[in-house]
């Protein structure tokens, strides 16, 4: 059968999706979306394709997330405005170093307020699937990030070869739960490939461990 084309559909697959809200989002369509809609109307297979409908669903469901980001952006813009205000004025005439950041801070604050106001007045979708995926998927994302952080920290003490071997083995074996043979094979080949590309072909000095490899 046709596989799922939707790579971003996250872990929310099993959860109920809200209705596509076909009539609803039509109101806020800009020119491009109009064109897109016209084109889509010809295309039955795509009407059920989440690639298109997801964007519209997303607009409806992220009330809480938008409120939180709006507040974060407001705080951030406050920080930017304060910092730019404290920057020294220009030595000659004309705008100084704080000029653009200050105005960008003001603009960002304005945008955050617009985001908050428009989000506030909008009702939430009846059945809200969460913005972030379930625990299992989130664990995978967290593990990748954790692994990458360790990879970055351990680069100097372990050296490129051992560190990369371990990191790829971690991604294959722990995060994706592959069999040992596959894990080992991919780890060795990836490490060797990167070493050849970066060190042998591009002549870049990669970190070595104190043991000399």
């Amino acid at each position: 059968m046709i596989p799922k084309p939707d790579k971003k559909a996250a872990g929310s697959d099993s959860r109920p999706r809200p209705p596509t809200g076909d009539g609803r989002p039509a109101r806020g369509l800009d020119g491009i979306s109009m064109i897109r809609r016209c084109a889509i109307q010809a295309a039955d297979p795509l009407l059920t394709d989440p690639v298109f409908t997801r964007a519209n669903i997303k607009r409806l469901i992220m009330k809480k997330a938008d409120l939180i980001t709006g507040c974060i952006l407001l705080v951030l813009s406050g920080f930017v405005i304060r910092e730019s205000w404290l920057m020294p004025p220009s030595a000659t005439f004309g705008p100084g170093p704080g000029f653009l950041p200050l105005w960008m801070g003001v603009i960002l604050a304005g945008l955050a307020v617009i985001l908050l106001l428009t989000t506030w007045g909008r009702r939430a979708a009846p059945e809200e699937p969460p913005v972030f995926p379930g625990r299992k998927a989130l664990t995978a994302v967290g593990l990748v990030l954790l692994g990458l952080a360790l990879y970055t920290v351990l680069m100097a003490p372990l050296g490129f070869l051992a560190n990369t071997l371990l990191f790829v083995a971690f991604l294959m074996g722990v995060v994706q739960r592959e069999k040992f043979k596959v894990t080992a094979g991919v780890a060795v080949l990836t490490t060797a490939g990167l070493y050849i590309v970066f060190h042998v072909l591009l002549g870049i000095t990669l970190p070595r461990s104190p043991l000399g490899f």
Binding site: A42, R59, V141, M155
Partner: protein, 500 residues
């Protein structure tokens, strides 16, 4: 005649063994990236910046541009065979392409996609050859106010044209400009937002941001739900790929219209290959004698969008090279790469580095020929490559990203930048904030700030300078119109479920 000399110069440069090899490598990689769903051209180009870092500028950009337009070819393969678009720009190809495959004609669909891509791609490079020098000549007279207006327009159009969520696009662009402010201010020597960090004095590294925002965040999104392995048993020989005479009769008009639409949509900042393919498909349906057949597997429905997305990739090079205004995420990263190599895109690029400009343009002619060869006889190979599961690609993408970012400066701090922006990019994807405007803000920010401050210094602080000069005035009006359209709509719909 000068044009002719320039083209000859370009071909001399592009046909050196090194450039030919890397043009081949770039287009090959582009096709591969196009074929594989889950990794897009933006990611591909971002990852290539560090790898091509040590090469000479022309070779490096030839390689990266090859990835960009090569991906437009490759994207159609899975669209047609499996109904899975390899890239967003080949979504429209699924409509009729997949139906053609189901009707037992996958060969001509694939063949026509490749041939339409070739014709339109070559058309676009030809237009680029003719239009770019004229535009560059015209833009040489631009002063700081024009430059400010131009960058401002580039940013606003990307946010208002490109996105589903204009407000979030503008926020993303504003954040990008602020990130560009980090570091020592070039004009006054004052450190800004450096948090007393030694590394930040030099600004936030572009490579780290680009790789993090696109490559790493893409991996994180894909890791959430392990992609199902896609697989097809289809086999092709070269003869089955050629469309018959009737197919050609049906498609020629579509290719032609797709090429023209694609090129001009591509030159607009903010409207990239994806939108071009949508518009070409819609236009084709409109002027067809049998619009009701669209979606059932008509070959025009493959030829038009495939032509348009290739043509748009060529068109997007026009504002990038002549004005220094990238129109999409991928071209923004290309522009970042140019700046890293010490080339400042803009009108002066044509007079200061003719060898680079014409070498690149000539390489695009050659690259299109390489791509048609790669995509017609070798299609079976690409189809077999689909068996490589994402599980294996994922660790490779992450490690190449991390090692590449590290290798450019030998500085581990850049990897942390990548890490941070990978996380930010992931959150932005989840919350529906487009990443392209942020990269655009980051790339255009310094230029925009310099032009702004110079203009205001020249005019003794009078903002009117942006509106009284004719060219800058027109650009500012366009920018403000494109900015106000979504805002006005937002206000109008406030009491009726506004959708920011």
């Amino acid at each position: 005649m000068e044009l002719f000399q320039n083209i000859v110069l370009g071909f001399q440069i592009a046909s050196s063994w090194e450039n030919l090899f890397f043009c081949f490598l770039g287009t090959l990689l582009g096709t591969l990236i196009g074929v594989l769903p889950g990794i897009g051209p933006t990611t591909g180009v971002a990852i290539l910046i560090p790898i091509t870092f040590g090469m000479n500028a022309t070779t490096a950009i030839i390689t990266m541009a090859g990835v960009y337009y090569g991906a437009m070819y490759g994207g159609s393969t899975t669209s047609i065979l499996l109904n899975v678009p390899g890239e967003s720009s080949s979504v429209m190809t699924t409509l009729d392409g997949y139906q053609m495959a189901r009707n037992g004609r996958p060969g001509p669909a694939l063949g026509m996609a490749a041939l339409a891509s070739f014709i339109a791609g070559t058309f676009a490079v030809l237009m680029l050859t003719l239009i770019a020098p004229i535009l560059a000549d015209f833009a040489v007279s631009f002063g700081p106010p024009e430059y400010f207006a131009l960058t401002f327009m580039g940013l606003t159009m990307v946010t208002s044209l490109g996105g589903e969520a204009p407000l979030k696009g503008i926020i993303s662009a504003a954040l990008g400009i602020l990130i560009a402010c980090v570091g020592i201010d070039a004009q006054s020597g004052v450190g800004r937002f450096t948090f007393d960090n030694l590394y930040l004095l030099d600004g936030v590294g572009f490579i780290g941001v680009a790789v993090g925002l696109f490559a790493l965040s893409e991996v994180l999104v894909n890791i959430e739900a392990p992609m199902q392995q896609i697989f097809t048993a289809a086999r092709f020989n070269l003869r089955s790929l050629f469309p018959n005479l009737q197919d050609w009769k049906d498609s020629l008009g579509a290719i032609w219209r797709g090429s023209v639409i694609g090129f001009f949509v591509g030159t607009l900042p903010g409207a990239g290959a994806t939108i071009a393919s949508f518009m070409a498909y819609a236009a084709e349906k409109k002027c067809s004698k049998h619009p009701e057949k669209f979606g059932t597997g008509v070959i025009e429905g493959v030829a038009a969008p495939e032509g348009a997305n290739n043509s748009a990739a060529g068109g997007a090079m026009v504002p990038l090279l002549t004005l220094g205004i990238p129109g999409s995420g991928t071209t923004a990263i290309l522009m970042g790469a140019l700046l890293i190599h010490g080339l400042r895109p803009g009108p002066l690029l044509f007079s200061a580095h003719p060898d680079f400009v014409w070498g690149l343009i000539a390489s695009m002619y050659i690259g299109n020929v390489m791509l048609i060869i790669q995509n017609m006889p070798m299609i079976g190979l690409w189809v077999r490559l689909l068996k490589v599961p994402y599980k294996i690609l994922m660790p490779i993408i992450i490690t190449i990203s991390a090692v590449g970012v590290f290798a450019t400066d030998g500085n581990i701090f850049d990897v942390w930048i990548m890490f941070f922006f990978g996380l930010i990019g992931y959150l932005m994807r989840k919350l529906n904030y487009p990443a392209a405007p942020m990269v655009l803000g980051l790339v255009l920010g310094p230029m925009m700030e310099m032009a702004l401050r110079q203009s205001l210094t020249l005019s003794y602080g009078n903002v009117g300078v942006f509106f009284t000069r004719p060219i800058s005035g027109i650009l500012m009006v366009v920018a403000l119109l494109s900015l106000s359209a979504p805002l006005l709509r937002l206000l109008k719909n406030r009491h009726t479920a506004p959708l920011p």
